[in-house]
């Protein structure tokens, strides 16, 4: 896949880069992310990755998990989602993780783990660059 540049909506400011970690669906940080190891339930590591997914969901404890990951240096370096809901935004602010929404669902379908990605977020705008 050639380099892709997508304009997104910046929600939480900052720049982050790393390998992509793609979740095809909504992730609940509480219960689906191990805050001690920084891994998903399927074993994939979230630390330093650009997390790309449909969005967050679930328990209001979620923001504390993202905060815990950040305190241990295990947070994702950036998050890009189709739609941002309050729990995810709260977590990203608390953990100071750049967050952008408005990812086209078709692009999410195509993306795979292990690509190079950079997110530049300066609310209200943001830019995601992906190279595979």
């Amino acid at each position: 896949m050639p380099e892709r540049r997508v304009k997104l909506r910046g929600i939480v400011e900052g720049n982050g880069s790393g390998e992509t970690l793609v979740v095809h669906g909504r992730l609940s940080f509480y219960g689906e992310v191990d805050p001690e190891r920084g891994t998903l339930t399927d074993g994939r590591s979230i630390a330093g990755r650009v997390l790309i997914m449909e969005g967050g969901r679930g328990s209001t404890v979620g923001p504390y998990i993202l905060y815990a990951l950040a305190r241990r240096g295990l947070a994702p370096s950036a998050i890009a989602v189709v739609e941002a809901e309050p729990i995810l935004v709260a977590g990203a602010v608390m953990a100071s993780v750049p967050l952008a929404s408005g990812l086209p669902p078709r692009l999410l379908e195509e993306l795979r783990d292990g690509c190079r990605a950079r997110l530049y977020s300066k609310p209200p705008s943001a830019m995601l660059i992906v190279e595979c």
């Binding site: 209001t60 905060y67 309050p86 935004v89 709260a90």
Partner: protein
């Protein structure tokens, strides 16, 4: 998002880092949701304060805020993971007790009311039309449905942020146009008692999550409305119903919306889904989810007297608000002789009950019947307190 000059100042950090972080949280969420501005609230209620739920990360975050942050409005907090000021009748690890005490201490340092309850409306009655920022899904549904006050379901740290700046984002149920019923639900079997009201709520949450149902369920008691709201908020994301004869915003059955019905089969289905034990198997009876006001203890004693019971063969546990502990503490000995235990300021759902070795309990709370098997592997029978007193009277 439009911000007033004062809000800008807070966002720049001129009132300290705690308020700055709180303001940033609310502004970023508001922007993500497309809110135009913030609104002032009169009461914040924070959920997610149990150590068994939020763990060390939650403790660290709350203590961090408390090092400089003070609440800007009347603020209360949810039940803790262990009874406040009394020994629990089940095992709670020492580390848990100590860290829970630190969380409560940090909240009190920030200026929270000593509360520890999921019924903040019993401490300060909300007025119709008033804006609130509450966590605790059952209390949110009660505030909107029973009191006509306005609040979304605010996640733990979000309600905490609202407490520190006295504001939340203007969105969702704060807006008049989002508070109108979207579906009429005809209730064919009027619920008797708290258990049936809870079963009705369970089906409402399950079938109409995302809708705002209009219900006519006969003359419901306040406690029935609370049980219904709590169950609907557990099985679904229901944050409000308009209930005929109950909700201040009731303007009669709405025209031009979809219609549905809930009948006896639905209540049976609800019971089959949430009930996993029989009354015979129940090792104790748990009531107080949502919390009872403290005078409920009198009702239990009256019920025992009416059935000529001086001591129950199996215990009754009653969860009440945390600040009830002092008046009730004097009664504790007397109650213990009757095999009644008071659990002030806690909630079995967010407790360490899973370590108790209990296999089955009875309760009148459908919300508890929904959560206890999922969280603690305890099987649950649904019964009224009277059924239990009759079954386990000496």
């Amino acid at each position: 998002m439009y911000l007033t000059r004062e809000e800008e100042r807070i966002l720049k950090g001129e009132e300290g880092p705690a308020r700055q972080l709180a303001m940033k949280l609310l502004v970023r969420i508001g922007e993500a949701l497309g809110a135009e501005r913030l609104i002032r609230i009169s009461h914040a209620h924070v959920s997610g304060v149990s150590y068994s739920n939020i763990g060390d990360p939650g403790l660290e975050f709350i203590e961090g805020l408390a090092s400089g942050g003070r609440v800007a409005v009347y603020s209360t907090f949810n039940p803790a993971g262990a009874p406040l000021g009394m020994d629990p009748p089940y095992p709670v690890p020492r580390e848990h007790v100590e860290k829970q005490a630190r969380i409560v201490k940090a909240l009190l340092r920030m200026g929270f009311e000593p509360s520890g309850t999921c019924i903040p409306y019993a401490l300060r009655r909300p007025r119709p039309g008033e804006h609130l920022a509450w966590g605790e899904s059952s209390a949110v549904a009660v505030a909107n449905t029973l009191y006509g006050a306005r609040t979304n379901r605010e996640g733990g740290p979000v309600a905490l942020a609202a407490a520190l700046v006295g504001r939340t984002y203007l969105w969702g149920l704060h807006l008049e146009e989002n508070r109108r019923p979207t579906i009429t639900v005809r209730v064919e079997t009027l619920p008797r008692g708290e258990v049936e009201a809870g079963l009705l709520g369970y089906m409402i949450g399950k079938l109409f999550s995302g809708e705002l149902p209009y219900l006519d369920a006969g003359r419901l008691t306040k406690r029935q409305v609370i049980a219904m709201c709590a169950a609907a908020a557990a099985s679904g994301s229901t944050a409000m119903c308009v209930v005929r004869h109950v909700s201040p915003e009731d303007q009669g059955p709405p025209g031009g919306v979809e219609r549905a019905a809930l009948g006896p089969d639905d209540l049976r289905e609800a019971r089959e889904e949430v009930e996993s034990a029989s009354l015979d198997e129940a090792e104790l009876f748990f009531t107080g989810c949502p919390h009872h006001p403290e005078h409920v203890v009198n009702r239990v004693l009256e019920l025992m007297e009416a059935h000529g019971v001086s001591r129950l063969r199996r215990p009754v546990w009653i969860a009440v608000p945390g600040r009830a502990s002092r008046p009730l503490a004097t009664l504790a000995g007397e109650l213990a002789r009757r095999n009644i235990r008071i659990l002030p300021g806690t909630c079995l759902v967010v407790s360490t009950l899973g370590r108790s070795g209990l296999k089955a309990i009875a309760t009148d709370s459908v919300k508890s019947a929904f959560y206890l098997p999922r969280r603690h592997g305890v099987r649950v029978a649904l019964a009224s307190l009277e059924d239990f007193v009759k079954a386990y009277g000496a």
